[in-house]
């Protein structure tokens, strides 16, 4: 999967599908000086709503050091009545804080397209745009490829879709983007005396539970407990902490599938591209993955060829037919 259910058995304060990031997308809005940023969570919609205790964050690195320089911090009210969503934009040191810092740029009810100035927002249930023959992957990518079956054809997610002016991403068009979800360090739902259900009610001390940049990095390259370690870490530490994991898979997988694995040198070079785990995105370009990620980019086919050194090139399934031409772009829920 892209990043769905990537940390089995999330222990408290996790254990919550509503903060399990499934995918992150970033692409240029056609014909405009704007970008669309998407963070989808809640694989298979196992949770009824967004988590009002959580901080959802889209982090933007503007200078190539894989540390956030801008952050869109997204929070939700309690779902007891109509749930509301608020997006704050933080800069500099505030963007690197594990707190919902920043100035509010847009807010409104969930499941509604909200417009404020040059921003547009939708947060709510949508059709999962990810497509992949999961069973084929689980079977070990056998050949000949059986008739492809898209595991996600009928799946939904909860999506945060944000349209922003490119200027909100900084002056350097080459940025790195990743999603994070965080929970209060002491995640006790009943202890906040001031919690009146507003989306402003959030504890200050958050811990990162999950993060994602490109699809399937954690899923494919991290084993066992490393999956959790990866989710808890930060992209700027990826080269030092996780290169060996990536190289280990790259130097064995192609051969294990009947092809030729990457050499150690080639694997190290690829690891330098795959890590840090961020979406590299030039917001002046409408090109797709590896420039950002569009909803219809066949990222699995692209990554299969890279990871297996050409031993596998396609999973045999393609883009969903329910994508929309206009905001919020993700199809209506099934």
């Amino acid at each position: 999967m892209a990043d769905h259910l990537d940390e089995p058995g999330l222990s408290p304060p996790g254990g919550d599908p509503s903060i399990d990031i499934t995918d992150v997308y970033a692409f240029k809005k056609s014909g405009q000086d704007k970008s669309i940023l998407v963070m989808a969570v809640n694989p298979l919609t196992l949770s009824p709503t967004f988590n009002h205790r959580a901080l959802y964050q889209l982090a933007i690195d503007t200078n190539g050091d894989a540390r956030a320089d801008i952050a869109f911090n997204i929070t939700f009210s309690k779902p007891s009545s109509a749930q509301r969503v608020k997006v704050r934009r933080a800069r500099g040191d505030d963007a690197r804080e594990n707190e919902p810092e920043g100035r509010t740029v847009i807010s409104g009810p969930t499941d509604t397209v909200v417009t404020r100035g040059r921003y547009k927002l939708f947060a709510g249930r949508r059709s999962d745009p990810f497509f992949f023959d999961l069973a084929w992957f689980l079977a070990g990518l056998p050949l000949p490829h059986p008739t492809g079956v898209d595991f996600f054809a009928l799946a939904n997610v909860d999506a945060i879709v944000l349209e922003v002016p490119n200027s909100a991403l900084g002056t350097n068009p080459d940025v790195r983007i990743w999603g994070r979800t965080l929970l209060p360090e002491d995640d006790d739902d009943d202890e906040d005396d001031d919690d009146d259900g507003d989306e402003d009610d959030h504890d200050d001390d958050f811990v990162q539970i999950e993060r994602m940049g490109r699809p399937a990095i954690n899923t494919v390259f991290m084993s066992g407990a490393r999956k959790r370690e990866f989710n808890r870490s930060s992209p700027h530490n990826d080269p030092a902490e996780f290169t060996a994991d990536v190289v280990g898979v790259l130097t064995t997988l192609g051969g294990a599938l009947g092809g030729t694995s990457h050499t150690a040198a080639a694997a190290a070079g690829l690891a330098g591209i795959l890590l840090p785990d961020t979406l590299t995105y030039n917001y002046s370009s409408g090109g797709g993955f590896l420039n950002g990620r569009r909803l219809d980019d066949d990222v699995i086919d692209i990554e299969l060829g890279i990871v297996t050194n050409g031993a596998r090139t396609t999973d045999g399934v393609g883009v969903h037919g329910d994508l929309l031409a206009a905001f919020p772009f993700l199809g209506p829920p099934h």
């Binding site: 058995g9 992957f137 689980l138 070990g140 595991f151």
Partner: protein, 160 residues
């Protein structure tokens, strides 16, 4: 995460009411213990698990095969399901449309090995081109079970 009872799980995995009944039958037969036999009633129960995918890829999910077989009547039910999480960190989240209920049609036992043949009656649980006839082998002496997943041979470890 929301706790799931067994009926909700079987509903989630989308195997239908017949499968719910089968699951209830398996549960009632004490399926969730280790491999066991009851000579007086001629029943044999087992549960086996392995990680998917295997080989060079890190396991992402767990394949669970569990059955309750009447050796004398050569009948029974076997359920196969994929759960999120590698073995050792397996969740209760069954991945939809990857679960199958197998009606046992024949059982043969020789030297500690039980060979089971069955059929998947619900065509909606089959991928295009997938054979409805299922073969399983339970090797109690080695503590393993064997079946296929998407046509690929899979060896599972019997749980004790």
């Amino acid at each position: 995460m929301e706790k799931m009872n067994r009926r909700k799980f079987l509903t989630l995995v989308g195997v239908g009411s017949g499968a719910v009944a089968a699951g209830a039958m398996l549960s009632g037969a004490g399926l969730f213990g280790g491999p066991s036999g009851d000579k007086s009633s001629g029943t044999f129960s087992f549960r086996a698990v392995t990680g998917l995918p295997g080989g060079a890829l890190p396991s992402y999910a767990s394949y669970v095969v569990q059955g309750n077989v009447n050796m004398a009547a050569r009948s029974g039910v076997v359920a196969r399901a994929v759960y999120a999480g590698y073995p050792g960190a397996m969740t209760t989240i069954a991945l939809p449309r990857l679960s199958q209920v197998v009606r046992v049609t024949d059982v043969r036992e020789a030297e500690g090995t039980v060979d089971i043949t069955g059929v998947i009656d619900d065509a909606s649980q089959l991928r295009p081109g997938e054979d409805a006839v299922v073969q399983l082998r339970v090797d109690r002496s080695r503590g393993t079970a064997w079946t296929r997943f998407l046509g690929q041979p899979v060896e599972l470890r019997l749980q004790t």
